[in-house]
């Protein structure tokens, strides 16, 4: 089906690429898009809300606000995926691996690369239309993470990028020109952006890295048009605020709680969901007695005010660096006979959780990765910790390793199969406890970790029943993965390996149906869209973005 929309869109796009107008989008979305005033740009908020039907686009980090990273597109499917081959590829540049999820809108693909560069590529050919390379301060502090960037957000006619030196920059989507720029925090203290910002209605939401630098974390909202701050939510409550009593002494001041991965959003409930990172110092919990809220938690915030509606803590008083910076996946399903709005997530601590996303109520939890630190979860979802699993001066062997049973790379949920797909790391580590003294802009770790490697480490793509957490199938990987997955309406799950294999699995059985050796480690999340009526699947490997399609 090809649809042309009104002259407004066509006119706006002529200067951009000279390619054809927006086509194939769902009728409902078009109606909304055309109803907005002319001052709006290419991607109004309403269009992002309807992203699941906007088949020629990939409008947010996980494709849709619900974090499902699922596409209903089925042109590439079980029957024909074996014929998938590259259409074009784009080599981003040297040295640092790609962890970007491209954003696709109106014939343009927006990608980022290290340190904080943005490129707009012609969707037909990969030819760069513009590139933005911000000057990054030379004394950059990236404490505890590689200098990556995971992508932009798009809203109206602007794209938004967070930089490694903690600036938020709005660019003109057509030209790459800076529309506004804001120094959000001081990189000298460890604050830094690696995440793709999240665009809501008129607001840009960002979270910070720096959980190994003893920061006090936050989630921020900025006015999309002006860059003015709208609100800040501190992830570590201050004196007098509820939760501050979960921090002994003044340990809250350097309690970390970084917010370095894009959150999810429910437009109907109007709630924003965001994962919070580890407490600081990472491995020495003695200096911060208590549960250390809201570290290793998910928080639900009012997106207009930043006010906390509820929280759920996965790992109270964490001493293993198990940030809850994983994707919070929002699904609607029948729970014990009643339709319910759920939040499901595979946490770094090796447990899979089902929560009520209206209230934060814990409904169910189950181990999904090999772990040796907890006997299980109690009826409130609190882990029953096995004594003797804390880090020690001599070292304590615990599964999983500090990178967890999974990490930042996106899982996927398919409404067709009811399965939750997650890249699982099977790896233990010896955790050490050491002295912890805070010094501004330095590592604040209180110990260390030595991961088990070689034959003792492996990985898999695991399919879980999304409601029970029961394993349905495994697809084994040679080494612990660092790459996300995407399920599609074609009955497929796409993913990548450290060994450079990009692959498609049967979403029902896990059987491999296609693979492509790309020559470099895959460290990113797949996306898909229609271009000129043909489905494309995009994955990255090494330093290359690779666009795949079927032969015409």
């Amino acid at each position: 089906m090809e649809l042309r929309i009104g002259p407004m869109k066509r006119g706006q796009r002529t200067k951009l690429t000279g390619t054809r107008g927006l086509r194939g989008a769902a009728l409902a979305t078009l109606t909304v898009a055309l109803a907005v005033p002319v001052v709006h740009g290419q991607v109004p908020y309403e269009r992002i809300v309807g992203a699941i039907d906007d088949s020629e686009s990939w409008l947010t980090y996980n494709g849709t606000y619900d974090g499902q990273r699922f596409s209903p597109l089925d042109q590439i499917n079980r029957e024909n995926v074996s014929a998938l081959r590259p259409v074009w590829m784009y080599q981003m540049g040297p040295r640092v691996g790609l962890e970007v999820t491209p954003i696709v809108a109106d014939g343009v693909m927006y990608v980022t690369s290290s340190p904080s560069n943005v490129s707009a590529l012609d969707l037909a050919t990969g030819r760069p239309l513009w590139t933005f390379e911000p000057q990054i301060r030379e004394d950059l502090r990236t404490l505890g993470f590689p200098p990556v960037n995971r992508g932009v957000a798009i809203l109206d006619d602007m794209v938004y990028v967070g930089t490694l030196d903690a600036r938020l920059i709005a660019l003109d989507a057509r030209t790459g020109a800076v529309r506004w720029e804001r120094q959000v925090a001081d990189n000298a203290l460890g604050f830094s952006f690696t995440l793709a910002p999240l665009a809501l209605d008129g607001k840009i939401i960002v979270g910070t890295s720096g959980g190994e630098a003893g920061i006090r974390g936050w989630i921020d909202a900025y006015d999309a048009k002006t860059g003015e701050q709208v609100w800040r939510f501190w992830t570590i409550p201050g004196p007098g605020e509820p939760g501050n009593e979960t921090w002994g002494g003044d340990s809250w001041e350097n309690g970390a709680g970084a917010t370095w991965l894009t959150g999810s959003y429910d437009p109907e409930l109007d709630l924003l969901y965001w994962g919070i990172g580890n407490p600081g110092p990472d491995w020495n919990g003695d200096v911060r007695p208590g549960d250390n809220l809201y570290t290793c938690s998910v928080v639900a915030l009012d997106p207009d005010t930043g006010e906390l509606r509820w929280h759920f803590q996965f790992t109270p008083h964490d001493t293993h660096d198990w940030d809850a910076n994983q994707i919070q996946v929002l699904i609607d399903a029948e729970w014990e006979g009643t339709p319910r709005k759920l939040l499901v997530t595979a946490n770094r601590n090796a447990f899979y959780y089902v929560l009520d996303r209206e209230t934060g109520e814990f409904l169910h939890g189950k181990e999904y990765g090999y772990q040796t630190w907890a006997e299980g979860l109690d009826e409130t979802g609190r882990p029953i910790v096995i004594p003797g699993t804390d880090p020690t001066e001599e070292g304590t062997l615990v599964y999983p390793s500090l990178q967890g049973s999974t990490n930042w790379f996106s899982p996927s949920y398919s409404p067709q199969t009811g399965l939750f797909y997650v890249a699982v790391r099977e790896m233990g580590a010896v955790y050490f406890k050491g002295e912890a003294e805070y010094e501004a802009g330095e590592y604040y770790l209180g110990g260390g970790e030595r991961a088990l490697s070689g034959d003792e480490a492996a990985g898999k793509i695991r399919a879980l029943d999304a409601l029970t957490g029961e394993k349905r199938w495994d697809f084994p990987l040679l080494t612990p993965p660092w790459s996300g997955v995407m399920a599609t309406g074609g009955g497929l799950v796409f993913g990548g390996s450290n060994e450079g294999n990009l692959y498609a699995l049967d979403a029902e059985s896990g059987e491999p149906l296609w693979d492509f050796q790309a020559g470099g480690a895959s460290r990113a999340n797949p996306i898909t869209y229609l271009h000129d009526g043909r489905q494309r699947v995009v994955m990255s490997a090494g330093t290359a973005i690779i666009v795949f399609g079927l032969r015409d």
């Binding site: 590829m89 080599q91 020559g519 470099g520 490997a541 290359a544």
Partner: protein, 154 residues
């Protein structure tokens, strides 16, 4: 089997192989110099590129008889310590992804610069077009050749 005398990377070599053996297999199997790669075997991809008397050739399609008496240079002999301008530029630009085609690319680029010290983009593209890189590192290959041409530095 027959005996052939070859000059490879400046050293006289005596090899005993079947007549008609491609130079690639003499280099890799008889002499153990495995930096030169087998790609397609039909002179289409450039992975097996070496120099014969300074000229870039496809070693998979060149019989051992054709090079007897000539001087063969492989990737191992391009420099003693990776100091050839092309090698230094390759490292500076971090060109490879998987690396499989890269010794062929380096040899082709070195031959290009020997012939044309300041090639244009179009000349680079024309000269290098038959060296295939499945990882698509062409933009970095081009940058590295320009870097080497201007004597290093960015």
């Amino acid at each position: 089997m027959a005996v052939y005398m070859l000059r490879v990377n400046g050293e006289e070599q005596r090899v005993e192989v079947e007549p008609g053996t491609p130079l690639l297999w003499v280099i890799r199997d008889a002499l153990g110099l495995t930096g030169t790669k087998y790609g397609c075997g039909i002179s289409q991809c450039g992975a097996c590129t070496v120099h014969v008397d300074g000229r870039a050739v496809r070693s998979c399609q060149m019989g051992v008889e054709e090079v007897a008496g000539g001087a063969v240079t492989t990737i191992e002999g391009l420099s003693e310590d990776r100091s050839h301008p092309i090698q230094e530029a390759w490292i500076a630009e971090d060109v490879p992804q998987c690396g499989y085609c890269q010794s062929g690319q380096v040899m082709a680029a070195a031959a290009l610069l020997a012939d044309n010290p300041r090639p244009t983009d179009a000349q680079i593209d024309r000269s290098m077009a038959r060296n295939v890189c499945r990882c698509g590192t062409y933009n970095r290959i081009r940058r590295a050749i320009h870097r080497a041409a201007r004597g290093g530095g960015s």
